[in-house]
Amino acid sequence: MRDAYDAVIIGSGHNGLALGAYLARSGLDVVVLERRHEEGGGLCTEELTLPGFLHNVHANYHTFVDLAPPQQDLALVDHGLEYVRPDVQMASIFDDGTALTVHTDLDKTCESIARFSDADAETFRRLYTEAHGYVNLLLGTLMYQPPMSMKELTRALSVFGVEDRSEFLSVKLRRETIDVFLDQHFTHPKVKAHLAFHGAVCGYANDVPGLAMSFPLLVGKIDNWNLCVGGSHRLAHVLWRDLAQHGGVLISDAEVASIAVDEGRAVGVVLADGTELTARRAVISTVDVEQTFAHLLPAAAVPAELAASVEHDLVHQPWSLFSVHLAMAEPPHYEAAAFDPDVDRAWVVNLGYASTEELDADWRAVRAGDLAPRCRPNAAVNSLFDPSDAPEGCYTGLLRQIAPYGLAGKGPAAWDEIGHWYGRRCIEAWRRFAPNLTDAAILDWAPYTPADIPRKLRNMVQGDWMMGEVSLANMLDKRPLPELAQYRTPVDGLYLAGSTQHPHGFITFAPAYNALQVIADDLGLEAWWRDV
């Protein structure tokens, strides 16, 4: 192992790998260090049940495939990356046997909505069309740029008179919940429930004030859900391939114990086995803020105010996800297919939320540390679209249920006692809508609880798969803390580029891409990559 590099990157999630590849392509000598045995972080695909069944343990839905700069900049398709975008993207199935489906074909989506409300179908078409006009401009402005302040944004939108031109860019949305927006625009509870469900799967809770401003993104990308062929880990693999082809090095089983600081500047890292690696130009952390500032940096290198903020002011999502991974002999056949046959071809399926009030009640329960009163997981069968993820004629299944990280009065460890029981409840909830999923149809299954999340991926603190709450108070130039929001840190030469940063988790690559702009400025690198 060499002992000096230009840039040392801590963590090999998609952000760490992509940033490493960008820097390597820029001529830097790069090493990416990974604590676990393999690269990828949340791009983790494992045989959790039976041999040959590939389960995406964390990231399953990739919604920025067409927009994220690394796709082209790093030639990921040339490295073997392949996506499939299912025709029937989503469905909501309701207790009364009805169902609503979202398609890649807008007309079909509107036809489905019109079965519940003609007016809602018209509204959806209008909002979708409006959002589609500028969603990429909006994403390029807000997501793939180091963050501005809300005040700056509001002022600019006022100067441009945008408020009068778009329902989505109204200032009042920055005070409203998604629920309020839905109530103002839609009439049918099931239509509202589906749109709120879509937000929830994206990590945007429908009852949090201010998140109504996210709705153009949520509507504009509602039909852009993509499945990584071969499992999400394939994306990590192609990122590594690009890194390696450009001279970068990935070292796994390389836990960083500390960041070396000399006269206020980050100059390298020390691994858990005592190995010292020098960073000639930059140390870049893509792990959580707590690790970076409370554990890896020497206490003397962290300003006291920042140390206090790290201890007291970081906010994590107050909810997590309970997952069940299944090996199946057949796919679900929903009774609701009698109402809408397309539900059997849908990828992401809401099992039962029929109103925003039902979602709201579950958010309240989960935030209080309780289980949702009734299991209403969402279901996905990836093998319908990528048969390579299961043995021939078989299927993988994924159930996800919103759940607390720590159970009230018992903490996260209680999940070890109830995980199998709760997993069975989730399966029963699925079976209620798809009776063919008998015990014989389910070859094996494994729960993956909120407590398991940080055990596998330490940086998802408290089971927080978004690596920081998605809320107005933790957005843009306030995320994760105001003094850390621009990817630089008070320690010279130390940068942050993980999902703790703007915009948030999910496979966006935005933290890496934005940090790249900052690092390039500081190191004098010539920008060869494309603008968003």
Binding site: T141, E152, V162, R165
Partner: protein, 172 residues
């Protein structure tokens, strides 16, 4: 009155921009190069279908130093110290109608009819300057249209959908 897409017109737009800059409380610091790519759409008589006309503009401390058209085979890098800071690309009819004051450029951007690339933070932080620049491009120059003035009558189905309806409501 200068003809559209002539050196006289570029100079007139430049002068209009600079006249507007004097009214602003603040302008962006530094130099910026803006590229405009006007793509022939088979409707505008000023850009042949399947070809494009390219323009460069340099802004320094808010003022336009120069605005010129590139020859078809001319490398834009010959005019640059660094790289293009902003790039606007879209159909010729849309650009023509903006220049004729028929379309609002903010509406056009919001509806995705013109793609905008570059650091949007600077555009937003200098919104007054950008608005002034757009006003100069859209309404400040009396332009003549030797090959016909938009909207182009008899040009067939509306190529830009609701943009024209919106333009009719907000423009002219």
């Amino acid at each position: 009155m200068p003809d559209i897409y002539t050196s006289e017109w570029y100079d007139a737009v430049r002068d209009a921009i600079n006249a507007g800059v004097g009214q602003l409380r603040s302008v962006p610091e530094g130099r910026f190069v803006v590229a405009v790519e006007v793509v022939g759409d088979g409707v505008s008589p000023y850009v042949d279908a399947a070809t494009e006309r390219r323009f460069l503009m340099e802004i320094d401390e808010g003022s336009c130093l120069w605005y010129r058209e590139l020859a078809p085979d001319e490398d834009e890098r010959a005019h640059l110290d660094g790289r293009v800071d902003y790039r606007f690309r879209g159909p010729a009819t849309v650009f023509d109608e903006i220049a004729a004051g028929l379309l609002d450029p903010v509406d056009v951007a919001l509806r995705g009819a013109i793609a905008v690339k570059g650091d949007m933070r600077l555009l937003l932080r200098n919104a007054e300057h950008v608005a002034s620049l757009l006003e100069a491009y859209t309404n400040a120059v009396s332009t003549t249209w030797p090959l016909g003035q938009p909207p182009y009558a008899g040009a067939g189905p509306d190529p830009h959908g609701s943009l024209h309806q919106q333009g009719a409501a907000t423009g002219a």
